[in-house]
Symmetry: C2
Subunit: 136 residues, 2 copies
């Protein structure tokens, strides 16, 4: 018995508008939910990327709240990696450059495959990588 | 142009041994990489769950390091959700109970589908949810 997939991955951001511009505009992810001051969620393939404002999600739900989601919220730069082909990584490099986003690092991995790293507006470390870096 | 999938999702933990016992033992995820004091990584379906010790990953790579991964590292409870069927959620509830892990909340969502929430040993908020809560 083991989980079949990760459905939701979360990062924390300090400016939701800047985050939506970046993830929705530069990366092109479709928004699927938005609560001003608290979160914006995006679909990514079969999964969901959750961007939260930690100051809002750290607050425990009110007693008797209809959707009493347990509190959470982290500070400091998190990390998330999107899957891409080798050609896709080259295309993303151009797309990021045209949006003024610096590529912070590029790594060739020992068993084959490549990653590029960049930052979102809140400083989270994002990556595009070929799934074969994990032997997939 | 939009990312096709999330390849890696990250959480931060304060005790790697406890984390490996929990994610590997209780949740049954296979370990695919481990560096004592820094990280343990698990395969989950077509993705990878990265568990890091933020104090280690916050340190910038040494000049000239072969794999100069940009620093990152967050503190405070993060969030991640695994996909499950409705029957799977019931089975996970039993598995968690038998491992002494409390279910912190259970939510029925407006468009159908259910979630259960629990904590990992570091306090991260974990969830099992049916993908249809997102209309998938």
């Amino acid at each position: 018995m083991t989980p079949s997939a990760i459905l939701e991955s979360a990062l924390y951001v300090d400016d939701l508008d800047a985050a939506e511009h970046f993830y929705g505009g530069v990366l092109g992810l479709p928004v699927i939910a938005r609560v001003p001051g608290r979160h914006v969620f995006f679909r990514c393939g079969d999964g969901v990327l959750l961007l939260f404002v930690a100051e809002a999600t750290k607050v425990p739900p009110a007693p008797g709240a209809r959707f009493a989601v347990p509190p959470h919220g982290a500070t400091g730069p998190g990390h998330l990696c999107f899957a891409a082909t080798s050609a896709g990584i080259d295309a993303w490099r151009e797309r990021l450059a045209s949006a003024g986003v610096a590529v912070e690092a590029e790594i060739e991995w020992p068993r084959g495959g490549r990653s590029i790293y960049f930052r979102d507006p809140s400083g989270n470390s994002l990556e595009f990588a070929e799934p074969r870096i994990w032997g997939f």
